[in-house]
Subunit: 191 residues, 2 copies
């Protein structure tokens, strides 16, 4: 039988503006005591699959310093304190790409790293997206926008051109929700 | 034009058996100096989509203390120092489920959290998986194995029953690789 652990003690052991880590003493399912379980207190993230009226997806390319790589993904960013998820999704999409949308639908919630964090990805479909104005990202950010067709997006996923876990999961979940998966297989089967 | 950052200084600021964090001073694309960029030095993870000869997928259920939840996913675990990815994939599958397989094919590599870590998910398809013996997980682990059909797996994904980012991404990538996506839509369209 699976059982949750009991937390016997919890204290912050590292904290600054960007990082917060707790050390917990836990009693496991079997009664064993672990006194060095570390939890990353990371914030939730909104991730936005923006589909334009011309059926194109809004991608972003930017340098990610953890991976030391320039990567392609869909817009995403940290949800601010007390911000409604939909408000955060609209804000991040606007800031990174200048796009807005008539409707933001939350279609899934994923766990980012459940072994050591409660942080989640809140996945939004932004319907009928349209260019609303200039971008407004931080000075530390440098984002290029790219529009691709649904078929190109699926080719990017199949080729590993999009490789961020959260982005890959979000794209497939939204494509599945829209019943658009498996649509690109047919031409290659015929060829 | 997108540019990589330059690292001017890097030092470890928190380290123990489980966690390692570096603080870096960076010059960004625009020449701005940031002296408090934090990098989590997390290890790579192997994640295994094991498909039995009866076309069933091997799922695991276990408590994850970061999320405070019992979750369903495919087998996964940290790659050990100097361990070949395929060796790690076979070891994790055996330890968590008692299953082995005739062939392990690495079909994708995903980034786990590219903003603040270089850590990757190495995704394996284990073909013709079979029950080889008892499980052998740590005393702190408590894993239940469940076999599901390909159709059930897709229903779990669509319902958010499987919600770990890395697992969702891996399942869809392997289903896409096997050209099995979109197969479950047809019955409900007919009904």
């Amino acid at each position: 039988v699976l059982k949750k652990w009991r937390v016997l003690a919890s204290k912050n052991v590292f904290r600054n503006r960007w990082v917060s880590i707790r050390q917990e003493t836990c009693e496991t399912h079997s009664g064993q005591i672990i006194d060095d379980y570390f939890i990353y207190e990371n914030k939730d993230v909104v991730i936005i699959f923006a589909l334009t009226t011309a059926q194109q997806i809004v991608l972003v390319r930017q340098y990610k310093h953890g991976a030391r790589e320039i990567i392609t993904e869909i817009p995403a960013g940290v949800l601010e304190e007390n911000e409604l998820p939909e408000t955060g999704a609209r804000r991040e999409l606007l800031e990174e790409t200048g796009y807005n949308a008539s409707e933001f639908i939350q279609i899934a919630t994923h766990l980012r790293s459940p072994s050591n964090s409660a942080s989640r990805d809140l996945i939004f479909l932004a319907k009928d997206a349209f260019l609303a104005g200039p971008t407004a990202f931080d000075e530390t950010e440098n984002v290029e926008t790219q529009l691709v067709s649904l078929e190109q997006l699926q080719q990017y996923l199949q080729a590993g051109e999009i490789s961020d876990n959260g982005c890959v999961a979000a794209c497939y979940r939204v494509l599945d929700y829209l019943k658009l998966l498996g649509q690109t297989e047919k031409p290659s089967e015929v060829a």
